[in-house]
């Protein structure tokens, strides 16, 4: 199956826009052949990661999210520029850790001086 090329979203850095990223993630997972739970898993993962970077400091740019369908996985990355001296260490609650550990196959959040970013991926289920 030929995957959808990269889909790039440039969203206002507001919490209400995260549902747009979730919506697109769900559509791409569906297109990629993920089952119902897989689609929901990716929506959850993308939402958690987007909120993580939005809460990492004072935004100074748009929330950029890139979703790529590869042969064996969907990869999602995100980036948000932060105002100087506003960066906070990323916080991951135990609920978030438990949820992400179950719904995606890998994730990370990085906050440095001036930007917050994330990556996650979810493997495609084996074809039966």
């Amino acid at each position: 199956m030929t995957g959808i090329g990269p889909v790039e979203l440039s969203l206002p850095p507001e919490s209400r826009t995260v549902r747009i990223a979730r919506l697109v993630a769900g559509a791409i997972a569906d297109e990629a052949g993920f089952d119902f739970d897989g689609v929901e898993d990716l929506r959850i993962g993308v939402g958690e990661m987007c909120f993580a970077v939005l809460e990492a400091g004072e935004p100074s740019g748009r929330l950029e999210v890139r979703l790529v369908q590869l042969a064996d996985r969907i990869e999602v990355s995100g980036h948000l520029d932060l105002a100087p001296d506003s960066a906070r260490p990323p916080e991951e609650t135990s609920l978030m850790t438990t949820l992400l550990g179950a719904v995606v196959d890998g994730h990370s959040v990085e906050v440095s001086d001036g930007a917050a970013s994330f990556t996650l991926h979810k493997l495609r289920p084996p074809e039966t």
Binding site: S15, R16, V18, R19, R22, F36, D37, E40, R43, I44, G47, E48, F51, E55, T93, L95, M96, T98, L99, A102, V103
Partner: protein
Amino acid sequence: MHVDVGLDGPTVVATVTGEVDSHNCGDFAAAVREPIDDNVERVEIDLSGLTFIDSSGLSELVKLHNELRDRDAVLVVRNPTPTVERVLEITGLAEPFGLT
């Protein structure tokens, strides 16, 4: 997200529809808490219209559960959609919320 809340004797009955996430979980929790007073013994939340919840929404439910437990009241959730039920099971919250 929309929350309907009513009082049936000592029981608060809340019905939530839509999606609860970090953006609106505070509004969700405030709406459910609004009618709770010292006479309330039980809070039931109907999740049949809830199509999505994230860790922030779950965290608000846990806080509410703990607050009620501390005053000898209980929180139970009812009729979760498959997506929400799965999230509750993954996080170990199905049992404390009265689903099993």
